[in-house]
């Protein structure tokens, strides 16, 4: 299998190329820009055929052009970050509502003000109710694999929804790592050309998409999106398993469990910070802590069953959120607690807000969190539910 040393952004661009995307509409924003630059380079060098590149005048138009292209039957890709994603928000609803499987890479970047170009998950998590599937990558390999799987999952006849593949600003987007890439033939075999649910080129049976839905029908349209999300759970697992069988990296689990078998305390989180957490788990295990890590790969649809299976066997879950929903708590924490409420799984759960705006989370920080969790479990008393871990005092 060919290996390349690439940044997360280049991994995303190569994956789009290997998926044989037909239309890319994109607007540049730091730190996403090198994704679309690399794709432009593929075109300039004649490395891709039949790829139309639309350099639009805003992110809002990028997503609008993508929905137009996808509705015309093309395999469609774009990428953005933070403010750009926020500007797209309206059209994210449109892509899902019109059941168009656009694939987009979002480079997690903190929202302004104050201006920041560094890592933070609030931009993508603020889009959670748009009807997009969300895959959070831990490393460059997962960015690459995630994009390939995203096309297969989003375009699946039982899903037909857009998919967001999410990577960390700079920690992944601009850091080089070894990425295994299957051959084009192997990928073509895994990911055949798109068979759209509908296309605007059907002139013999003309129809309208997105017309006014009266109270007699609108409700059912929403329900069908939710049905597609539910279908996606099964499709994600199937495609993840197939990916593992073909390419050796298994993604059949929506939550990746790391040394959780006999764990008392589990650290749960998403994205690149889980690389540090896994490293910390190894260190803490050698120090006698019974800890493990649970990396939530798919945030939408939310892996409810897998979370329950994990939660019923552990004493405490430390949820590490690189994001925050103001007036409430970390978003993953909020979702995870909600899932477990009506179950018999009742671990102690504490929310650690970490790494906002690119603040570093180290192995030692995870050790401090482990100590705190151990204390809470021993005392059987939660000191506080939400801790802003790095706060300067």
């Amino acid at each position: 299998m060919p290996k390349k040393v690439v940044s997360g952004n280049y991994a995303a661009a190569y994956a789009a190329k290997h998926a044989r995307v037909e239309v890319v509409a994109a607007y540049p924003i730091t730190p996403q820009t090198s994704i679309i630059e690399k794709i432009a380079e593929f075109i300039a060098n004649g490395e891709v055929e039949n790829l139309q590149y639309v350099s639009v005048e805003s992110e809002h138009s990028a997503m609008a052009a993508c929905i137009g292209a996808s509705a015309t039957g093309a395999r469609t890709f774009t990428a953005t970050s933070a403010q750009g994603l926020a500007l797209m928000h309206e059209m994210l609803h449109w892509a899902a509502g019109a059941r168009l499987p656009v694939v987009m890479v979002d480079v997690n970047r903190a929202m302004a003000p104050p201006w920041s170009v560094w890592d933070d998950q609030t931009d993508s998590l603020a889009q959670r109710d748009t009807g997009w599937l969300q895959f959070y990558a831990e490393n460059n390999q997962e960015v690459y694999d995630g994009v390939l799987m995203a096309f297969k999952i989003g375009e699946h006849e039982k899903v037909n929804l857009p998919v967001m593949v999410i990577e960390s600003a700079f920690i992944l987007s601009h850091t080089y790592d070894i990425v295994d890439m299957p051959t084009q033939e192997e990928i073509d075999d895994f990911l055949p050309p798109r068979k759209p649910l509908y296309t605007l080129t059907d002139f013999d049976n003309p129809f309208s998409v997105g017309a006014l839905g009266t109270p007699a029908d609108y409700y059912e349209f929403r329900y069908k999106i939710e049905k597609a999300m539910e279908n996606a759970r099964k499709v994600i697992k199937e495609v993840g398993k197939e990916f593992g069988e073909r390419f050796g990296r298994d993604y059949s689990q929506m939550i990746e469990l790391y040394r959780t078998d006999d764990a008392e305390i589990v650290f749960m989180g998403m994205g690149s910070l889980m690389g540090t957490v896994k490293e910390a788990v190894d260190v803490l295990r050698s120090e006698g802590y019974k800890v493990g890590a649970a990396k939530v790969r798919w945030f939408r649809p939310f892996p409810k069953e897998e979370l329950y299976e994990l939660a019923k066997n552990v004493e405490g879950i430390a949820v590490l959120d690189r994001n925050f929903s103001f007036g409430q708590e970390g978003i993953l924490f909020n979702e995870a607690k909600g899932v477990l409420y009506n179950t018999d799984a009742n671990p102690v759960m504490k929310n650690y807000i970490v790494g906002l705006g690119g603040r570093d989370l180290t192995v030692n920080d995870v050790r401090v969190i482990a100590k705190n969790m151990k204390e809470i479990i021993e005392k059987k008393e939660l000191d506080k539910e939400i801790e802003w871990y790095h706060l300067k005092r």
Partner: protein, 311 residues
């Protein structure tokens, strides 16, 4: 529907209908006429994109469509971007776009969705040179939301958010010249048209299909509801707008302007004839009408000069 032979002879437009009866336009709607002519000109091998506007409703609620052509309803500000994406996808997939037997990609948007919220996407579509046609049907306000001013609303017009009261006087700014903004992009083809002159409109539509690159047509489409005018006066109003030079007909191609007025040698009729048929101008005093009249003639002279210099 098969028409009798003597009727057929009189028709200058194709008898074929691709815009069906049962649409939900108001009585006397100019926009619905425009849609009908577009479909007559192009047949059904067209892809329509319609943003939030009267035509969203006119085309009908799900699962109906009054258009015998594929139609993508989109968000208010996105017409230019969506047609760009459609055109790109058609090219990527190897379809023939435009020309005699090619697919026609059309954005059909009102003046609010074009002159205001959609201006950026229109600019992008024009500047990038996509092979499509953007038609702005101009009824001079946000009619679908209940007659609010747009930047295409003329000086002196009543709307529900320029209501005319003791202190506040109706619309106080002149109509935004969207066509001039479009021409500044040097598109392949740009033109004004009116629902009162369907042959001229059809000719321009055919031209837009034959030319490579982006085209734009600003179609004058009276709205009896919003203009507080009788529903049987739509064509008369549209004709008077041209005859008074309030909305002159012209084309722009290869840097050249060409005026195409029905009676080229006649002086414009007094604007008052156009104004007095409409309730929306009822707050205007004689002086206000004079202000608007002077603006119209000044713009008209400017256009004639352009046609003279760049003709």
């Amino acid at each position: 529907m098969e028409l009798p032979a003597d009727v057929k002879k009189k028709l200058t437009l194709p008898a074929e209908e691709h815009f069906y009866a049962g649409h939900t336009a108001c009585q006397g709607c100019g926009a619905s006429l425009g849609l009908r002519y577009v479909l007559k000109a192009y047949g059904n091998k067209t892809i329509f994109t319609i943003p939030a506007c009267c035509s969203t409703i006119i085309a009908g609620p799900w699962p109906y469509s009054a258009l015998n052509a594929p139609l993508f309803h989109t968000a208010f500000e996105t017409t230019g971007a969506v047609i760009s994406g459609i055109e790109a996808a058609l090219k990527a997939k190897g379809y023939k776009v435009k020309g005699e037997d090619g697919i026609m990609v059309i954005g059909w948007a009102g003046d609010g969705g074009t002159a205001d919220i959609g201006l950026q996407a229109l600019s992008g579509f024009l500047e990038r040179g996509h092979d499509g046609l953007y038609i702005m049907y101009d009824n001079e306000a946000y009619m679908n939301t209940g007659i609010q001013r747009s930047s295409s609303t003329p000086y002196g017009a009543w709307t529900t958010n320029t209501p005319g009261g003791k202190k506040h006087f109706v619309e106080s700014r002149p109509k935004k010249k969207v066509i001039d903004i479009v021409i500044a992009h040097k598109p392949a083809y740009a033109a004004t048209a009116s629902v009162a002159y369907p042959e001229d409109f059809m000719r321009k539509l055919k031209k837009a299909k034959s030319i490579k690159g982006p085209s734009f047509i600003q179609l004058f489409a009276p709205c009896p509801t919003g203009w507080r005018a009788p529903t049987d006066k739509t064509i008369e109003l549209a004709r008077l707008a041209v005859q008074t030079a309030y909305f002159p007909l012209f084309e722009y191609e290869n840097g050249k302007y060409k005026i195409n007025m029905p009676s080229p040698n006649k002086e414009p009729k007094p604007l008052e004839e156009f104004i007095k048929l409409q309730g929306r101008f009822k707050y205007m005093t004689k002086e206000d009408i004079q202000v608007l009249q002077e603006w119209v003639l000044k713009e008209w002279e400017e256009l004639k000069k352009k046609a003279e210099v760049f003709g």
